[in-house]
Every structure is written in structure tokens, then in C-alpha cells.
Amino acid sequence: MIDNTIIRRPSWRIRGNLGRRTHLLISLAGLLLPVGWWWWISAGGAVDPIFLPTPPLVIDSAWEWLRDGDLLGDIGISVYRVVTGFLMSAALALPLGVLIGTYAPIKAFFEPITDFIRYMPAAAFIPLVMLWVGIDEGAKIAIIFIGTFFQMVLMIAEDVRRVPMEQIEAAQTMGADRDEIVMRVIVPSAKPAILNTLRVTMGWAWTYLVVAELVAANSGLGFAVLKAQRFLQTDKIFAGIILIGLFGLVTDQCFRWIHRYSFPWLYRK
């Protein structure tokens, strides 16, 4: 016998919906339960706080970092590195991705090499970057660039290729020339998908921060985590990782908000 009650309840229907309140409640539980579990394990005394500090310890260390250290400065410089690396990679990847997705010769030329490089680990480029770019800000930005650019180009090209051929052909039969098709059909049609790609790659840029700050840094969230590791300050490591995660989450939410705001037709039904 199949239990039908599970199908009748709308929340468990395949691709079903939740009410706003239930949704919020479950999401909150999903966030708070792991924290509670962490707290319980760490406060129980079974685990040495060197390995697993309690949440209050982590908060204390973040507070101390803010008061005595240079938390705001670290945040500022890290945001600067991530955003600059990301913007530079977007500035190049946007036109190149649109061209690769539109013109076959450009695709044939750039796609194999891009596909190849994107499998190379960004961290392995550190020695080369230090050799070529030096060890100042440029080097850190270069690592974030390398980590995001090649993926971004290919994803944008794919977004552009997914523009329905009918939209393009309809424009052709209305007398649009090549530039007009690119600027008035392909770009506006692919824009929502491209913004999503930017959102996802921005997340990756944040994850490359620690790698980037391996390069002779003396400030930044990633650097602070690395330094804390040297002194076995597990609570500060936790604080740093959680902060990086939070900043990633905030930028992600900003992108989602921009998406809703810029493409109202996608959300109106």
C-alpha cells in the first residue's frame, strides 16, 4: 500500500510550495540546529577548545579582533581584493563570453584554451604570479582573477548560446543587422542568466580569498585565518571563516535583489 497522505499534503508534493512562515521557520531551524549541535558538543567538555571552541569563545574572539586588532581594516582590504579581482574578471569575461557565444570562429579559437586553463588550480599559480606580478596588491587580485575568470567566460558564453534561435531569427526577419541582434536581442535576452553567473562566480571569488592572501599578505580576513592557525587560535579561525561566509552570503543576497529589481518581467506572473 502506498501512503497517500504524503502526496496530498502540498508541502511534500513534488516541487510543492511552503507558506512563507513555515518556510522561514524551517530555514531558521536549518541554520540554528547545527549551531546548537556545535554548542552542545563544544560546551560538553568532551572536546578540547583548541580543536572546537564554543560559540561564545568565537564571538569573544571576533569582538577582541574588532576592539584590539584591525577587524574593519581586514574586512576592508579583503572586500577590496575580492571586488577588484571580480570586477576585472567580469570586465573581460562579459565581452569575451558574448563573442564566444555568438561567433563560431571566436568560440573555436578561445574555448579550448579556456577549457584547459580552468582546470588548473588557481593556488598553483601563486609562484608564477609572485614572479610576474610581484607580491603587492596586484598579486592577490591576480589570484582571484585567475580563480574566477576562466569559469566565468565559459558560463557567460553558455548563457548567450541559450538565447532561443527564434528570438534571433525573428529580429532578422524584422531587418535587424548583426550589431543590432547582439545588442538588442542577445544581450538583453541573456542578461538575467548572466547576472546569475556573476552571482555564482562572485561566491567563488570569496572562496579564493584565503588562497590569494597566502601571497605575502599582512592584512585581510584570509590572512588573519592563516595567522591564527600559526598560533593555534582556533576561535579566531572560526571567526574568520564565518565572517568570510557571511560576506559571501551578503553579496549573494545583493545579487538576488538586483536580479529581482532589474528583471521584473521574470517575477511577474
Binding site: P164, E169, T173, M174, G175, A176, D177, E180
Partner: protein, 282 residues
């Protein structure tokens, strides 16, 4: 030859081959067809017989392998604003409102350069007229994904008509609509074609639709894709739904359906059916 006798569309010895890997598909072989101004011609035939290919070549979206297509005596060399196309789906611009979609062509250089201010005014008037004609007045500011399939196709037709094309090419435009909506659309498109004296080339799977709309129905056959027969429709220019029950209509429908069946190369294999019926399900 007088001006009047130049066909609007002249298709001569048209061949189209597709190379896919090492095998070659003959999508069209020696297609010849001549369509008069303001004539309504429908294309029917089994799947894969080259209907869409023929339409796309006339639209300039696909090059022919050999042969020519001429419009008003001039061979075509690509898409042009004299030939508008309506697709089955996905051709509307979802980021533009209904009105903006319909006026899309006004943004293009080709239409901007020739425009004087009175042209612009006339164009505004034409857009409004098309919106009213298509019954889109109450959804002018809506986005395409807020509309039903039938409404979306009305927008697509209005947009195609905006640049005053002499020829309207339609590839199964009502294929995704329900029967009632489709009937409404039939009368609408007939009305427009008479009003605007547009020449229509219309692909469909639905034989009843093909007869109801057309002056002539072209039957195509697959492997190789070719024009098999052309049927004159013995109905007056002004059609109404009751004509579908007349003897002439039903006889022609039967004849064309038989033609499609005979050329489709698919027969019901009775032995196989029996085997299927007798085989246990588990």
C-alpha cells in the same frame, strides 16, 4: 508579361541538402511553386518532409543548396523586411511589454533611417491599430509570460505585421493552442490577410486548418523532401466555420489525408500489432 502576372513568390528548382556527419539528408528536391500576390498557401505533409526547410529558405534564414526563390521577380539573398516570420514559440522578447514587442522594428536602423516625423506618427497609429485588431488593448503593458499561448501568438503576429511585410511566413503558429483558441485565430488571420493583402505561406500538421485557411494546399512528401501535389480549395474567399461541414471540404480533407498517409512511409503493421496485443504485460 504584365506587372500583374509576376508572382509574389517564385520558387524554382529548389534543392536543399543537409550534411550531418557522413550522411546526407535531402530535405528538398526540385521544389517548384509560384504564389500570387495576396494568395494564402498552406503546406502539409508527413513529419520530416521539408516544410519548415522550405519556409525558412523563403524567409532567407537558410540558404538553398541550389535553385532560386524570387520575390516580385527579384531573387532573395537573405532575410528581409518584405518577409516576416511567425514561429511556433519562444520568439517574443520576454523583457519587453506587449506594446514594446510590437514596436520592436521601430528601434532598428533600417526603419529609423527612412522615417520622417510623419512616418513615426503613422507607425504609432499602426501599432495602435494592430493592438486593437488583435484584441490586445487590455494587455498592452503586460509582459509576454503573463499571457496565454493564444495571446502570445497574437502579439507575435502583430509584431510581424508591424513593418508592413508583403509576405507572412508562419511555421505551425497555432500548433500549441487548444482547438477553440485556434478557431478564433484562424478567423483573425484570414481577416488580416484580406485586410492587408498579405501573401501567406503557412505550415501546419492539421489538414482541416490547411484547407480552411488556404486558396491552395501544397502536399509535400518525405525522403527525399518534395512537393507531391497541389490542391485548389473550392471554397469562396470569405470563409466561415460552417464550411468545414460541406461535402467539398470533407472530400478534400479525405483526399489530402490519404495523400499524407500514402507518402509518409509509415504503415500500421497488423502482425506486429497482434503480437503486441498477445504478449503478456509482465
Amino acid at each position: 508579361m504584365t506587372i500583374m502576372s509576376i508572382p509574389r513568390i517564385q520558387i524554382e528548382a529548389l534543392d536543399k541538402r543537409f550534411e550531418t556527419g557522413d550522411c546526407e539528408v535531402i530535405a528538398l528536391q526540385d521544389a517548384n511553386l509560384s504564389i500570387a500576390p495576396a494568395e494564402f498557401v498552406t503546406l502539409v505533409g508527413a513529419s520530416g518532409c521539408g516544410k519548415s526547410t522550405l519556409l525558412r529558405i523563403v524567409g532567407g534564414l537558410e540558404p538553398a543548396s541550389s535553385g532560386t526563390v524570387s520575390v516580385d521577380g527579384k531573387p532573395i539573398s537573405g532575410p528581409g523586411i518584405d518577409r516576416a516570420m511567425v514561429f511556433q514559440h519562444y520568439s517574443l522578447y520576454p523583457w519587453l511589454t506587449v506594446t514594446e514587442n510590437i514596436k520592436f522594428c521601430r528601434q532598428l536602423k533600417m526603419h529609423r533611417d527612412v522615417s520622417t516625423s510623419s512616418d513615426v506618427e503613422a507607425a504609432g497609429g499602426r501599432a495602435d491599430a494592430l493592438i486593437r485588431l488583435m484584441g490586445l488593448g487590455h494587455v498592452m503593458q503586460a509582459y509576454p509570460n503573463q499571457l496565454s499561448g493564444g495571446m502570445q501568438q497574437r502579439v507575435a503576429i502583430a509584431r510581424a505585421l508591424m513593418a508592413r511585410p508583403r509576405i507572412l511566413l508562419m511555421d505551425e503558429p497555432f500548433g500549441a493552442l487548444d482547438a477553440q483558441t485556434r478557431e478564433v485565430m484562424h478567423d483573425l488571420i484570414l481577416h488580416v490577410s484580406i485586410l492587408e493583402k498579405t501573401t501567406l505561406l503557412f505550415v501546419t500538421h492539421d489538414v482541416e486548418e490547411a484547407i480552411y485557411l488556404a486558396h491552395r494546399v501544397v502536399l509535400m512528401a518525405p525522403r527525399p523532401g518534395r512537393i507531391e501535389a497541389i490542391y485548389e480549395v473550392p471554397l469562396p474567399d470569405h470563409r466561415d466555420q460552417d464550411m468545414k461541414q460541406t461535402q467539398e471540404f470533407l472530400a478534400l480533407k479525405k483526399q489530402i489525408l490519404a495523400g499524407i498517409r500514402a507518402t509518409s512511409g509509415m504503415q500500421t503493421d497488423h502482425d506486429l500489432l497482434e503480437q503486441l496485443g498477445n504478449a503478456p504485460a509482465h
